[in-house]
Symmetry: C2
Subunit: 166 residues, 2 copies
Amino acid sequence: MAQDFSLPSVRVALSPRERFEEFLQSRGKRTTQQRRIIVDEVFKRHDHFDADDLISHLAGVSEARRVSRPTVYRTLSEMVDAGLLRSMNLGGRTVYEHDYGYPQHDHMHCQKCNKLIEFSTDELTKIGEELERQYQFRVTGHRLIFTGLCADCRNQKRRTRKLDLV
Amino acid sequence: MAQDFSLPSVRVALSPRERFEEFLQSRGKRTTQQRRIIVDEVFKRHDHFDADDLISHLAGVSEARRVSRPTVYRTLSEMVDAGLLRSMNLGGRTVYEHDYGYPQHDHMHCQKCNKLIEFSTDELTKIGEELERQYQFRVTGHRLIFTGLCADCRNQKRRTRKLDLV
DNA sequence: ATTTATGCAAATCCTTTGCAAATCT
DNA sequence: AGATTTGCAAAGGATTTGCATAAAT
């Protein structure tokens, strides 16, 4: 086979859990049962979730000792600080998604079914650079969400009487 | 003079207050003292504000009869429905800005001083169209915020010891 | 042995609601 | 008059905090 063109290996060298433990150490924080459980569970699937989703999920994880609500909140923040998660605010609640080892992307948010769909574009980088030039604004990140109706919901709508638009 | 090439006159024909009253009527709602006061005060200056900002501002407006907190919240929602205001969520609180008669734009948010700076680009429209094509996602709007440091804060930072970065 | 984390309960923050009294049309 | 609004107080929902106890280094 061809040469190893793997991506910069730093990026995925450590598992999320290892990366988190490294972060914790660097801050003099401790590696606890519950922090371990949370990182592991969060990185088992690539979903968008909020604190409550995670809490009810953990309730179903038998080998997991009871993890309290405050601890979930506290750990989620730490994971954001650690660069493992990104958070965004959707209608009052904070929604999280993987950041570590996951490519930069933006979202479409379906207002009907509440689904979040990811997409990518490099336009945003260009716009950001332009802003740095024009406004001397140091861009550290961005959040872009298109709102509207996803393909599924558009179809459902079409099948429905027009009356409920009001 | 040349022919009347004015923009669609609907757009700025009515003052915010008139536009709001029109909206209220169309919904069988009433034009009350407090709704009048709120529209007027909100459209006196072009600022970004949240419910609390407005409430404390109103407290200083003598000719304004006392307007209660719930009424402010209720009216702000109505103004969003009426297309007079846009709302966005910034760190847990809802921030409002003029929408009616105001050009489409996006924001930079300084994480240090919390300032919101507006900018415009037509790239977003293009991206939106591309999404409709590729994902059959019906775009009804978007929210784009670049986060980072504004020019002012970058300067301050430079003048400060590095220690407070922690 | 120390120090940091956890869980509990209670507190906070922002926003919304129920309802009787006040205000519009 | 008759309906919608208001203000008040209280409720709500998400997230955070104080503190004694449990767990990590």
